[in-house]
Symmetry: C2
Subunit: 326 residues, 2 copies
DNA sequence: AATTTTTGTGCAATCGATTGTACTAAAAAT
DNA sequence: ATTTTTAGTACAATCGATTGCACAAAAATT
């Protein structure tokens, strides 16, 4: 029996008789036949490889996202090629080239904070490699994407703070050129506005996302003696820094100052007080992009549309914002 | 100029003149030539793919390990295919088959706790696919491996507890069939023995690695009223559970009971009191196995030896074991 | 000058699955 | 019984890099 017949039998080609199909299938099983993906990939010109570019693998959110992607891509026969940018633009650019050179079937990107232009992504688009964004998107590019509704999240937590009786609420912000931080900022603004609370420029602290930055900020704040009612940080890490300093200085959270973060990092639950924050469902989001990409790859259709999924972060209320215990 | 000449020129074959080499290289650069990995892989029968089987991607230790592996394998042109077992034997078996079917060049495994036999690994060995173990090893298999010196770590922390004046020290253990937990147990025993401290059977609690199990254990312990001086847990998670219950019950750590964990999970630093634990250098270990595997793959030599690297965990002393503040 | 050696290239086969085309046998239609 | 249709299978080319072998040209040797 010729190789072509066997190939078609395995693929259940309509021109092959059912008997033959079954015979081939059985025989294949008996002789423990395994198709050589390399060969079929060569033929199809595709490698069943998906490139992933993220700032860091070992962040709570991203490692969960990767876990989610694997859960979808592995059973579908795709492999993941994962690149870390460490938030660096050069590195992102290079990773993208590497992925293109490896002829990946598609690319999932979460943009580095060092990135400010979209030019390098054009390379992938020119090669007609599907490009999807994940969490950190380039808004000016019209591509498939899976994001968090950071606006809603920030709005919810800010509103919660206000309802708890905090009025002068500061915001520790991230780079405004990244959608994620921009929306956390605007969500905060919206909630404040709606409550007729003023937001003066000095109430928003830029580039304050790390533990260190949070500590430095809190030190300065304490020195100034001019404390706000509460602080909503765009990052759990800077919220952590703030909390540690406040505690050191004997300022009580939440009775003196309310505090909320973003991302539900594992440690937020165990700090004392535990920190109110927002869960981002990294694993689900990872599954979602992976599915979106595979759908795109496996439909022969032309790209006639752009998909976009937006997850709602879940507000997790903890001690750091509950002013009045019942 | 023929394809063969070009191929050789690019590979700097000695039979090709330097002029030709340079010409080819330049021309290739100009026309933006990218070798098709698929084709070359097919020819060589290898896919430049490394399989990784771990219990969970999104654990602190493992996500860092993966990050370390990527850092080595990516630049070397290898991709990682990552499978999670969720500690389940069946799943491990299946992942192994998947990797073999995908004709990976090598496999890195951290054994699931549900695994008790080595039979399924024989499949990889029969296929002559290099198999390396990482952290959780099958000791009866003579393969390359990178491990933690859990014995030394456990010994160090137990000794530290003893030096701090804790004498009756309980141990929360994991499944003894896993090297990692076995050695944490024996390290603990050794230190106790050396200090002439008795370890009665009820001082070692089996299968107590999760937060839940830790909480259950601590509840029972408190109810019994028969408290030890200290507890050394083989897992930060059960240590966490214990701490939460003790605090709830008004038992002070470390003045009433000392407490130590293992793995330096991020939250251990921020609990109150912060928990003494051991850092495992996941990223370095990941780099180490990856290097070991690539060395093996790229040396044409027969396998004449078995490599083994053992990392020393670093004792991180925190509040939970410092009985007498100075 | 003739012969050997060295050096540089090209031919053609190979890796294994896939697929358009062609061909044969069987079934259906006339 | 002859023609048409359809089903089932095989041939051969293809994907692109690689490599053993052979051959030609140039250099070295006698």
């Amino acid at each position: 029996m010729s190789a072509s017949t066997i190939s078609r039998a395995l693929a259940k080609h309509p021109r092959i008789s059912v008997k033959t199909c079954e015979l081939v299938q059985k025989t294949a099983a008996v002789m423990n036949y395994r198709p050589n993906h390399l060969a079929s990939n060569l033929r199809r010109g595709k490698g069943k490889l998906i490139g992933v570019i993220i700032p860091r693998i070992n962040r709570h959110f991203f490692s969960h996202a990767i876990a989610g992607m694997e859960a979808i891509t592995n059973p579908a026969g795709y492999n993941l090629m994962i690149c870390q940018t460490n938030e660096d633009f050069e590195s992102e650019q290079q990773s993208l080239q590497t992925l293109i050179n490896n002829r990946v079937d598609g690319i999932i990107v979460s943009v580095a904070s060092g990135t400010r232009t979209t030019k390098h992504f054009k390379a992938a688009i020119d090669e007609e490699i599907p490009l999807l964004f994940f969490d950190r998107v380039m808004e000016e590019l019209d591509t498939d994407r899976v994001v968090n509704d950071n606006f809603a999240g920030a709005y919810a937590v800010t509103k919660h703070l206000i309802e708890q009786g905090f009025h002068k609420i500061m915001h520790l912000a991230g780079p405004r050129h990244i959608n994620v931080y921009k929306h956390r900022y605007t969500g905060y603004l919206k909630a404040m506005e709606e409550a007729d609370l003023e937001v003066s420029p000095e109430m928003v602290i830029d580039d304050c996302l790390t533990r260190d930055k949070g500590e430095q900020f809190a030190e300065k704040l304490c020195d100034s003696g001019n404390l706000p009612d509460a602080i909503f940080s765009a990052s759990d890490y800077s919220a952590l820094g703030v909390l540690l300093v406040l505690k050191k200085r004997g300022i009580n959270v939440p009775s003196d100052i309310g505090l909320a973060g973003f991302a539900n990092e594992p440690f937020t639950e165990f700090l004392e007080p535990s920190i109110t924050t927002l869960e981002q469902f990294g694993e689900d989001m990872g599954q979602s992009v992976a599915r979106m990409l595979i759908d795109r790859l496996e439909s022969k259709e032309e790209k006639k549309f752009t998909s976009s999924v937006s997850f709602k972060p879940q507000l997790i209320i903890r001690e750091s914002t509950i002013k009045n215990k019942i």
